[in-house]
Symmetry: C3
């Protein structure tokens, strides 16, 4: 692809020779002639300044220099996503139809163009929307409904009754609809509380590899439209996640917590149960959230507090050695004053 063509595809303004042949994408550091690179994170400015790439996609606002042609765009990340679609390897094509090794119940409904790959199981009463792909080894339980244009990578498990919207992407080993973790104590023993609810995923939901989403004790665990969940995340029973929220790897959300719309949770953050996390809130990586979080708030730390406060507390903590020295110095000065006072007192007494 000519560079000019790429610039047109990503809607950018070209500075340089539009006739350069572009063959691939690479980081500024790894790129060579024929590659296009990009710059959005300022951390990589030096790398772009020294890149051997033939061209760089950069934000129009960027004032730096690079030793190659450039495509100036309003949003380099967005333009890169488009470029990746043009220049990346062709995505794997999964053949429509049911592989002979798959096991599909007689009453399961498969939409047009569905691909059910090797060793997949589609149980009684399940329905899979048009063009959805089950790559291999997937399990789609009784009565599950999956919308159209979905993609279930190998070994995904979706237990009975789960409803999944359109364009879902479920990564390898994701497990949806597991029993919630609910027991009551009877003497020393834990008695299982039946988890008779379900799970509902909106449209455009992505669930990471080996992530787990539990079914509700009753009612539904709900994941809204456009929610993006990274690998190894745990979503407990009766959690509700609003549209367009996103959570990084290894996040854990305890039972019945409600997460608003557009919320972002950093990696390994943990949320206690029965909380309300307001729309647009941000939770820092590894934070331990034990209280409700207001809309648009940014909390971090353990227990989580407003991020500015957490930083302030951390600064105070780091000053403790100095605090200790100042306190010791103050004590020494007091002692000196006391001695002087006593001496003076004596002096007075003598006087």
């Amino acid at each position: 692809m000519k560079l000019a063509e790429l610039a047109a595809k990503v809607g950018g303004e070209l500075v340089g020779d539009g006739g350069i042949e572009i063959r691939g994408l690479a980081s500024a550091e790894d790129a060579g002639p024929g590659d296009v690179t990009f710059l959005s994170n300022p951390r990589y400015e030096a790398a772009v300044a020294g890149t051997r790439a033939s061209a760089a996609i950069v934000n129009a606002s960027w004032a730096g220099a690079c030793p190659c042609a450039r495509i100036c765009v309003p949003n380099a990340d967005r333009a890169f996503a488009l470029a990746a679609t043009c220049l990346g390897p062709a995505p794997v094509r999964y053949e429509p139809g049911v592989h002979p090794s798959a096991v599909v119940a007689a009453d399961a409904r498969l939409g047009a163009g569905v691909s059910v790959g090797p060793c997949c199981v589609v149980a009684r009463g399940a329905s899979v929307g048009a063009r959805t792909v089950l790559v291999a080894g997937c399990y789609v339980g009784e009565g599950v409904e999956i919308g159209e244009d979905g993609l279930l990578y190998p070994n995904v498990v979706v237990r009975e009754g789960t409803r999944i919207g359109k364009r879902a992407i479920l990564h390898p080993g994701a497990a949806i609809g597991n029993d919630g973790f609910g027991y009551v104590k009877e003497g020393a023993a834990w008695i299982k509380v039946p988890q008779v609810g379900g799970v509902e995923l909106g449209d455009d939901v992505e669930i990471g590899a080996n992530a787990t989403v539990d079914r509700a004790r009753f009612g539904k665990t709900v994941i809204g439209h456009g929610v993006k969940i990274d690998n190894l995340v745990q979503v407990a029973h009766n959690v509700r996640i609003g549209d367009h929220s996103a959570m990084a790897a290894q996040v854990g959300i305890s039972g019945s917590t409600r997460i608003g719309r557009g919320v972002q949770l950093g990696g390994q953050a943990g949320l206690a149960g029965h909380l309300d996390i307001g729309d647009g809130a941000i939770v820092g990586a590894q934070a331990g959230v034990t209280k409700n979080v207001a809309a648009a708030a940014f909390v971090s730390g353990y227990p989580a507090m407003p991020h500015a406060e957490a930083r302030r507390m951390h600064a105070h903590l780091m000053r403790l050695p100095e605090t200790k020295k100042r306190l010791e110095a103050a004590e020494a000065r007091i002692e000196r004053l006391e001695r002087m006072m006593t001496a003076n007192g004596k002096g007075d007494a003598q006087a």
Copy 2:
């Protein structure tokens, strides 16, 4: 089901019209006519007070008001579990027998009524107890013994030699009997230490989705009777967990740590290796346990300490800005005293 009938089933005292037809279970907030709801967590009192449910299961000790019939019971959680069994959807029935796509070794022993679902593998010398279900895609390794009335959800892996008691529930993707993480360093390289031990699970054990339990370096990793392990938990080699302990999602237990009976571990808690956690101890969510924990102790924080102390330390930490101000004020007062003293001294000297 009539409400009076439900009250009898859960052993509760009915206050209201026993003739009401009950069709389902729902949270106080989501419930409508025909639903029964329940109240155990005081957090939801307001929701129950405003519910549209036809009835509520409540603790007999509860003094609040609700706009519907009520069933008063000694333990609302327990009664709800019973109600869920009566009113929830019928559990999925798995056909006894071996699915034609399953691969079962000639010398494997399957008890009466066992169900081996599609694409399951049962290896040489394994035995599966009566009525146990392998839903789909499960792997039961060489010589594994699984007791009766077990339920292995799709894609569970149980490696060679593992012994599992009766009534086990293994959720999707759980991996039991993996090699422990053991190496010795030789120059720069890590040399693998063979993990020649096994894993033993007692009766009534539940292991969460995508949780991992490693085999022992030698001897056995042991999980006692009635232990409940949530999703994505890691149990390392040679760990021993006493009867009726429970651990929430994403907990990690390092090698050779011994956990007593009736211990509870909060979500994302991490335990170092070679520790002893006493019977009945409680470890808070996200705690990092680096030392032994006494029986019945409640520890939290990082490094974990008695919870009351952790709270006190946190309170002290939060007062640091005030401490700083008080210290500055003290310094200013000392300085003033010093100036006065000097002036007085001069005064004295002059005098």
Copy 3:
């Protein structure tokens, strides 16, 4: 096996009766006659002193006493690894050949002695090196290359284009080559950034059960030779891990972070994105690393800092109750001085 024979195999010096028959390995506590135990962690000295084992493998430098024969070696851990190979149960043998239930693409290349177990899938253009074993339910995607003498436990997923070196061990449910977690925001919605890069694993890599390794946004996610990754670890897109690094369970590494050679990461540690972790660095369990780490540094805590400093800060934190008391005492003394000064002043005035 005679004890003298075992001593020779592990290259140790025997003290005691070489004619004792050794049948198994056990911990000092669990061992009985016929077992050999070992001692490397001083924590277990008392257990070895009281063991019923017939022999103990100990470091030559150990000065303690044990009630049984002993084999003295330079490195007890290393010798134990050898002993385990001799005395442990014979490892499971997987039959070479392709199981009839496996699905192997016509153009896939399988080396001599490869074992493709039940319900495995090997997709178009993939190649599997000589003697490599795919136990069961594994998925090897389009164009994947796996070296010789590898071992893929059940339900491992390796997505398209991934390259894996020799002698790899991938534990159950490990998922390699998943899409990285990358989106750009467009209004409220997250637009997926195609993840068109790959994953490359060196030789002698071990990946834990249900661990996840994401493919690069472009270029490659790289895991060096001899890297050992424990269960449930997350390796994000474009991460690079140097040779012989090791990371314990539930570690999370964010995108584009570079980890040097011989680095060790403790369990549940989390690393932010775009960081450099120097060769030989050590990161404590549960640490939250937000900045680059120098070579050979040992960091811990959240946010991670040099371990010695983290300990000092913790000690200061634990002294806060005392600090508070001292501050209060200082304030009281100041107040007393002020009163005296005032009184003196009055005295002066009167005088």
